[in-house]
C-alpha cells in the first residue's frame, strides 16, 4: 500500500476554516442554555491575609440571587501537578494575592451577580506580603504555603552531569553572566469562560475554554468528589491559549459545583482583569550562566543557576523550574553541566506555562552569552554556533535523546537569506542584526500524572455512507489540531479532508488525549491517528482485495477510491470499499494510541525535558535603534524552522509567524509587573495594569515582515516525519533582538524586555565610560540542596544519579499528596 501525499505537505484551507470566518465557531461564552444563571467571583482585595470573617447575607438577599458560595463548600484541594495540589476553588483560610477568589455569587444575570458580589463583606487579618523573590528568600515565615521545600521556597533543585567545575577551571575562557527575564502573560483575546450544567441523567457537563479537558476532568472529579465517569468535560475551541488555559481554574470548579447544586446551567465569563489574575504566564527569572569555553569556541562546561518568581500557587511550577535548565544541552554540545533552579512563592498571581514553558528565559541567557563569547573570541556568532551544534542521534550530558537535528541547516539558511555575512558588524550606527537559535520539545515525554497509559488515543468510525468520523480528546486552541487530525486520516484513507468529521476534546465522546500543551498534539495525536487509520485501511483493503481479486499490497487509497496500483481503472469507490468492509467484518471501528518512548534519564528530575524529538529554529532579527531615544524598531525577521515535515504548510507558517510575533512582544514591550504601594501607607501589592490597553502587545504596525523557511528532514518519530512548530519559533526572537541591539549601538541589554529606557541608560553609561550594559548585578545566595550527581553518557553513566536517595515508586496517588508534601516539609526542616 502506498501513500500519495495528496493531503500531507500541501497548503490547504484548514477544516475548521469556514466556521472561523463565519462566526459559527462556538466558543464557551457563545453557549446559551435554557434557564441559565450567571456567576461572578469576589476576589481578594488584599495580597496576603487570613480570612477572619465573611458575611454573605446582604448579597444573598439581593433579588435575583440564587446562591452565594464561600470556601466552606470547597474543602478539597486540587492543582495541575500531583506534587502541588494547593488550590481551592474559593479560598478557605488564607488569601495569597490580590485577585485570589474568595466567594461566588450565582444570579439570574451577570449584572445582578456583580451587584450582589460587591455587597459581600470580608474581614481580613493582614499577613506579611512577599513582593519579590528576595523577600521570599529572606523571610521563611509566614509561609505562603505549608508545603514546599523550605520557608517560602517552593522548589529548589540541583543536578550535575560530569565534573563541571574541573571543566570550567580548565577552559581557556570563563564567561560569567547574569540575565533577567521579566514575567509576561498570554493575553488570549478570548477571556476564559465556562458553562456547567447537570444533564438529564443528573450528571455534570462542563463546557470550558480549556486546553486540557482531561486534566480538568480529573480536577473536577477530585475537587467535587464526583466519580469521573459521571463528569463530561467538553473543551470548546479556545480563543487563544498559549498555555494560559492549561490549569484547572477556580471558576470552572465553582460553576460545576453550583450547577450540580442548583440543577441549572451556570455560565461564567471572566473579565479581562480576571484573566490577568488567572495568569499562569511566563515566570520572571533571574539567571547566572558560568560557561567554560576553549579558544576555538567550544564549550567545556556550563554552570547555570535560575531563580523563578512563582507567584502564589504551584501550578506547573515544579516543571517550569526544571525546564529553565532542561534544554540547554539539546541545541549545543555541552559535555559537562550543572543546573540549579529555585522557585519561590510570592503574593502575586501564579506563574505557569506560557509558550516555551520555562525555556525562553534561559534560552535568552544562553544565546546572548554565546554572542558575547563570539565577540570576545572574534568568531562570527553563526560560525561559533555551527561549530557546537549537538550531533544527531546523540545523548546529551543530561540524558536527553536527540534524534534528527536540522539546526545547522537552519543557521545556514537564515545566514544566507538575511545576507548576514554582509551585514553583521558592518551596518552603520543604529542598524544591527542579531542571530539566535533554539530548540523545543515535540511533546513532553512524561505525562503529568505518571502512569503507563497512552498519551493520546484516537478512534475511527466508518460506515456504509462512506463517512468517516475521527474521535480524539485533543483540543483545538487555534493551532489547527482538528486539521492535523483530519488530514492524517484523509491521507491514509485516500479521501478528502472535508470527507472526515472530527469530534474532539470531549471526555464523554473521545478517547483521552492529554491536551494542547508541550507541543505534543501533532506528534502524539498524529501517530495515534495514523495507527487508527492504518488499521481501518487494513480492514478495507482486506475486503476489497477479496472482492476485486487484487493482491492487498497493490491497493492504492487515493482520490476517494481504492484501486490497483498496476491498473488504476480496476478499483472501487471509497464508499463502496467501506461497504464491503462493513459487510465482511461487521460494524467498523478502529483505534490508535501513542505512548512516547521511555526516557534514558532515570534520575530524579529527569522527567522534565525528554521528548520523542526536538524541533530546532534559527532566526536573524534586524533592528533600527535610535541612539538619541533608545527606540527600537524591528523591520525584518528571517527565521528557519526544522519542522521535520510540514503537514499543512499554511498552518505551519502561521505558527512560525505567530511565534515570531509573540517573541517580538516579549522582547520589546510585554511585562506582567506589579505595584507595591508605600508599605507604611498601604498593604497593597497589585498588578500594575491588568488591561489590554496597558499590557502592551504589538499591533499590526509593530509587526515586522517575517521571512520563513522550513527545513524538512522527516523525523522517524513524527507522523509523516512532523515535529512541533507551536513554541520553538518564539524562543530565538528575544535573544536575537538583544544581540541585534548590541550590533546596532554597542550596548548589552541583559534583561527582557529590551525597552528604550534601558537602551538609553546603557548608552549613557557607555558615553560616561562605564559598562555599556543594563541587566542584573547579582545573584542571591540560595541554600541549594545536595547536588544530584549524574555521570554523563560519554563517561559511562547509566542515567541514574550516583548519589540518588531511595525514593518511592512513581505511582503517585492524588490522595497521598498532602501527606507527601508534609513529608517533604519535615525532611527540609530536619
Amino acid at each position: 500500500m502506498t501513500l500519495r501525499g495528496d493531503v500531507i505537505g500541501k497548503p490547504r484551507r484548514r477544516v475548521d476554516g469556514r466556521a472561523k470566518v463565519t462566526g459559527q465557531t462556538k466558543f464557551a461564552d457563545d453557549i446559551v442554555l435554557p434557564r441559565m444563571l450567571h456567576a461572578k467571583l469576589l476576589r481578594s482585595s488584599v495580597p496576603h491575609a487570613k480570612i477572619v470573617r465573611i458575611d454573605t447575607s446582604k448579597a444573598a438577599a439581593v433579588d435575583g440571587v440564587s446562591l452565594v458560595l464561600t470556601g466552606e463548600s470547597f474543602p478539597i484541594a486540587y492543582g495541575i501537578l500531583p506534587v502541588s495540589h494547593d488550590e481551592h476553588a474559593l479560598c478557605r483560610d488564607v488569601v495569597r494575592f490580590v485577585g485570589d477568589p474568595v466567594a461566588a455569587v450565582i444570579a439570574r444575570d451577570e449584572a445582578t451577580a456583580e451587584r450582589a458580589m460587591r455587597l459581600i463583606e470580608v474581614e481580613y487579618e493582614a499577613l506579611r506580603t512577599f513582593a519579590s523573590p528576595d523577600d521570599s528568600l529572606a523571610h521563611p515565615e509566614p509561609r505562603i504555603h505549608e508545603y514546599g521545600d523550605f520557608g517560602n521556597v517552593h522548589k529548589a533543585v540541583a543536578l550535575q552531569f560530569g565534573d563541571v567545575d574541573a571543566a570550567i577551571a580548565g577552559a581557556d575562557h570563563v564567561f560569567d553572566d547574569l540575565f533577567y527575564f521579566e514575567g509576561n502573560t498570554h493575553l488570549p483575546i478570548e477571556q476564559h469562560a465556562t458553562v456547567a450544567t447537570k444533564d438529564q441523567d443528573g450528571k455534570l457537563v462542563v463546557y470550558s475554554s480549556t486546553q486540557t479537558p482531561h486534566y480538568l476532568h480529573r480536577a473536577l472529579a477530585k475537587a467535587l468528589s464526583l466519580p469521573a465517569a459521571h463528569i463530561r468535560v467538553v473543551a470548546t475551541p479556545n480563543g487563544g491559549g498559549f498555555g494560559g488555559k492549561s490549569d484547572p481554574f477556580n471558576h470552572e470548579v465553582v460553576v460545576a459545583y453550583a450547577a450540580m447544586r442548583l440543577d441549572r446551567p451556570i455560565k461564567i465569563c471572566l473579565t479581562r482583569e480576571e484573566v490577568f489574575y488567572c495568569h499562569r504566564g511566563r515566570h520572571p527569572v533571574l539567571m547566572r550562566f558560568r560557561t567554560g569555553v576553549t579558544k576555538e569556541g567550544t564549550i567545556t562546561g556550563l554552570d547555570l543557576q535560575t531563580l523563578l518568581d512563582g507567584g502564589a500557587y504551584g501550578s506547573y511550577g515544579v516543571a517550569s523550574t526544571f525546564y529553565t535548565g532542561a534544554l540547554q544541552t539539546v541545541t549545543y554540545d555541552i559535555p559537562t553541566y550543572r543546573f540549579r533552579g529555585c522557585r519561590v512563592f510570592t503574593n502575586k498571581p501564579p506563574c505557569g506555562p506560557k509558550r516555551g514553558h520555562g525555556t525562553p528565559q534561559s534560552r535568552f541567557g544562553q544565546e546572548v552569552q554565546l554572542d558575547k563569547i563570539a565577540e570576545t573570541l572574534a568568531i562570527d556568532p553563526a560560525d561559533l554556533r555551527l561549530n557546537i551544534v549537538q550531533p544527531p542521534d546523540s545523548l546529551t550530558a543530561n540524558f536527553l535523546r536527540v534524534g534528527t537535528i536540522g539546526l545547522a541547516d537552519c543557521i545556514k539558511k537564515v545566514v544566507d537569506r538575511s545576507n548576514w555575512r554582509d551585514t553583521f558588524r558592518k551596518l552603520p550606527l543604529g542598524h544591527g542584526v542579531g542571530l539566535a537559535c533554539s530548540s523545543y520539545l515535540s511533546g513532553a515525554g512524561l505525562p503529568i500524572n505518571w502512569n503507563d497509559l497512552p498519551h493520546s488515543g484516537v478512534q475511527l468510525k466508518l460506515d456504509r455512507s462512506g463517512g468517516v468520523t475521527v474521535f480524539c480528546g485533543a483540543t483545538e486552541i487555534g493551532q489547527g489540531s482538528d486539521d492535523v487530525l483530519v488530514a492524517i486520516v484523509a491521507e491514509v484513507l485516500g479521501i478528502d479532508p472535508f470527507d472526515v468529521r472530527a469530534v474532539t476534546g470531549d471526555t464523554d465522546l473521545t478517547p483521552v488525549d492529554l491536551g494542547s500543551y508541550s507541543s505534543r498534539v501533532t506528534l502524539m495525536m498524529g501517530n495515534a491517528a495514523i495507527q487508527a487509520a492504518e488499521r481501518a485501511r487494513e480492514l478495507i483493503a482486506d475486503a476489497v482485495s477479496v472482492k476485486l481479486e487484487i493482491p492487498k499490497g497493490r491497493l492504492v487509497f487515493a482520490d476517494r477510491r481504492v484501486f490497483d496500483a498496476e491498473d488504476p481503472e480496476r478499483g472501487t469507490s471509497f464508499r463502496e470499499a467501506v461497504r464491503l468492509a462493513e459487510a465482511k467484518f461487521g460494524t467498523l471501528g478502529t483505534t490508535g494510541s501513542y505512548t512516547p518512548p521511555r526516557s534514558e534519564a532515570k534520575f530524579k528530575g529527569g522527567g522534565v525535558g525528554p521528548s520523542p524529538t526536538y524541533s530546532y529554529t534559527a532566526a536573524v532579527v534586524e533592528v533600527d535603534v535610535d541612539p538619541e531615544t533608545g527606540w527600537v524598531t524591528v523591520p525584518r525577521v528571517w527565521i528557519a524552522h526544522d519542522i521535520g515535515r510540514a503537514l499543512n504548510p499554511t498552518l505551519v507558517r502561521g505558527q512560525v509567524e505567530g511565534g515570531v510575533y509573540m517573541g517580538i512582544g516579549e522582547a520589546l514591550m510585554e511585562e506582567q509587573v506589579f505595584r507595591r504601594l508605600p508599605a507604611k501607607l498601604s498593604h497593597a501589592l497589585v498588578h500594575k495594569f491588568p488591561s489590554i490597553l496597558e499590557y502592551k502587545s504589538p499591533t499590526s504596525l509593530e509587526m515586522p515582515e517575517v521571512f520563513t523557511d522550513l527545513i524538512e528532514y522527516p523525523d522517524p518519530a513524527g507522523p509523516f516525519g512532523a515535529k512541533e512548530v507551536g513554541q520553538g519559533p518564539l524562543l530565538p526572537i528575544m535573544p536575537a533582538v538583544a544581540n541585534a541591539v548590541y550590533d546596532a549601538v554597542g550596548v548589552r541589554i541583559d534583561s527582557i524586555p529590551v525597552t528604550p529606557e534601558k537602551i538609553l541608560r546603557a548608552l549613557e553609561a557607555k558615553a560616561a565610560g562605564k559598562a555599556p550594559r543594563q541587566g542584573p548585578a547579582s545573584f542571591p545566595d540560595i541554600p541549594w540542596p545536595e547536588t544530584l550527581r549524574v555521570t554523563p553518557p560519554w563517561a559511562g553513566g547509566t542515567g541514574r544519579a550516583d548519589n540518588e536517595p531511595a525514593r518511592p515508586t512513581h505511582r503517585r496517588v492524588d490522595a497521598g499528596i498532602e501527606a507527601r508534601a508534609a513529608g517533604i516539609t519535615k525532611e527540609a526542616r530536619s
Partner: protein, 343 residues
C-alpha cells in the same frame, strides 16, 4: 463581561434641550458623545452618572463651517477631521494630532469635543472598581490619597488629550453653551493643572464647537510619544505652530501635552522664536526652554525619567518639521507611525 451601571438615558435633538436637561442636575449628569472615554470609565465605575445625555442626535454638533477660519462642531468625529482636506492642508498640527488618537475604530466613534474634554488619566485611576478598592482608592475617585505622590494635595492625573495641545498652538477657541448663556473660551484657558478639576467648563455647560482662526502664513505640527503606533494615549507630546514671513518666524506657540494635568504652554520658547529663523542652535535652545517645564510623574506607561528626556527630541522634531525638514523617518521612529495614510 464588563457592563455599564444603570442610568437614565436622554437623547435630545437640539443643543437647547440638551442644555436644559443638563441644567436639571449638572453634577450627576454626563454628556455622551462618541462614548470612547465615558463608556469605559462608567464600566470601571470611575464615573457613575444618574443621567446620561446622548448628543448623537444633535445634527448641529456635527457641522463643519468655513469662513473666518474653520468652525468645527464638537460632535464631529476624529475620522471626519482626518478625512477633511481643509484640516489636513491648513491645520496640519490638528490633523496630525487627531490622526494619532487611539485606533481607526475609536476615531470613527470619538469626537473632537470628547477628545478636548477627555478625562485625565492615571494608572492608579483608570482601573476597575475592584482594583481601586485594593489600593484603598485614590484622591480622584472614592479615596483621599494621590498615590502618584502621597504628599500631594492635588490629583496628578495626566492630561492625555492629543487634540488640546494642537488646538492651543493653533489659537483655537471653544464655545460653551448652558441653559443660561453662551461663552467663548480660548483653548488655553479651558484647562487647569489639577487632575480632578482639569476643565474650566462648568458642569452645566456643553462644549458645542471649536473655532480655528485664519491660517495665512501659519504652519503647525504635533509630535506624540507612545509605545505603539496605535491604541496608546500620549505619554508626552509637543504641538508647535508658527507664522512665518519667509524663513523668519513672526510669532509662535509651543505646547507640551501629557506631562501634567493640563497642556503646558512654553512662553519662553515663543518669545525666543519670534523674529528668528529656525537654526539648529535656536531649535536646541528652545528644546532647553521646554525641558524643565516637563515634570512627568510615574503614572503613565514608561519611566518618567525617559519621558522627560524625550521632550527635547519631541520639541526638536516639531521645530525641524516646521522648518521644512523631511521628518518622515524620524516620525516613524519617534512617534511609531509614518502618518502617511490614516483611516
Amino acid at each position: 463581561m464588563m457592563r455599564l451601571p444603570s442610568y437614565r438615558y436622554r437623547a435630545p435633538s437640539t443643543i437647547g434641550d440638551a442644555a436644559a436637561w443638563l441644567a436639571e442636575s449638572p453634577t450627576d449628569t454626563m454628556l455622551l458623545a462618541g462614548g470612547t472615554d465615558l463608556i469605559p470609565n462608567m464600566k470601571r465605575r470611575q464615573q457613575t452618572p444618574a443621567t446620561v445625555v446622548g448628543l448623537r442626535g444633535i445634527a448641529e454638533l456635527s457641522e463643519v463651517r468655513d469662513g473666518d477660519g474653520l468652525t468645527v462642531g464638537a460632535g464631529v468625529t476624529l475620522s471626519a477631521l482626518v478625512h477633511d482636506e481643509r484640516v489636513r492642508q491648513q491645520h496640519a498640527g490638528l490633523w496630525q494630532a487627531v490622526a494619532q488618537v487611539a485606533t481607526p475604530h475609536l476615531r470613527n466613534m470619538g469626537t473632537i469635543g470628547g477628545n478636548i474634554c477627555l478625562d485625565t488619566r492615571c494608572t492608579y485611576y483608570d482601573q476597575t472598581f475592584e482594583w481601586r478598592k485594593a489600593i484603598d482608592f485614590c484622591l480622584k475617585k472614592d479615596g483621599d490619597v494621590c498615590w502618584v505622590a502621597p504628599s500631594s494635595k492635588r490629583c496628578l492625573a495626566v492630561s492625555s488629550t492629543d487634540s488640546a495641545p494642537a488646538l492651543i498652538a493653533l489659537g483655537a477657541t471653544v464655545r460653551l453653551v448652558s441653559a443660561t448663556g453662551t461663552r467663548d473660551v480660548a483653548m488655553g484657558d479651558l484647562y487647569v493643572n489639577d487632575g480632578m478639576q482639569y476643565l474650566t467648563r462648568r458642569a452645566d455647560e456643553i462644549l458645542t464647537s471649536i473655532h480655528l482662526p485664519e491660517v495665512a502664513g501659519w504652519r503647525s505640527t504635533y509630535w506624540k510619544l507612545r509605545r505603539r503606533g496605535s491604541f496608546d494615549f500620549p505619554v508626552a507630546s509637543v504641538a508647535a505652530a508658527a507664522r512665518f514671513d519667509g524663513d523668519r518666524i513672526v510669532e509662535a506657540r509651543l505646547v507640551l501635552g501629557a506631562l501634567a494635568s493640563c497642556p503646558l504652554e512654553v512662553p519662553a520658547a515663543a518669545a525666543r522664536l519670534a523674529g528668528e529663523a529656525l537654526t539648529d542652535e535656536l531649535i536646541a535652545s528652545v528644546a532647553d526652554d521646554a525641558y524643565p517645564l516637563a515634570k512627568p510623574m510615574d503614572n503613565t506607561d514608561f519611566e518618567l525619567v525617559w519621558r522627560k528626556k524625550m521632550v527635547r527630541s519631541l520639541v526638536t522634531s516639531a521645530l525641524r518639521e516646521l522648518r521644512g525638514d523631511d521628518m518622515r523617518q524620524a516620525r516613524t521612529r519617534l512617534a511609531r507611525h509614518p502618518l502617511l495614510q490614516v483611516s
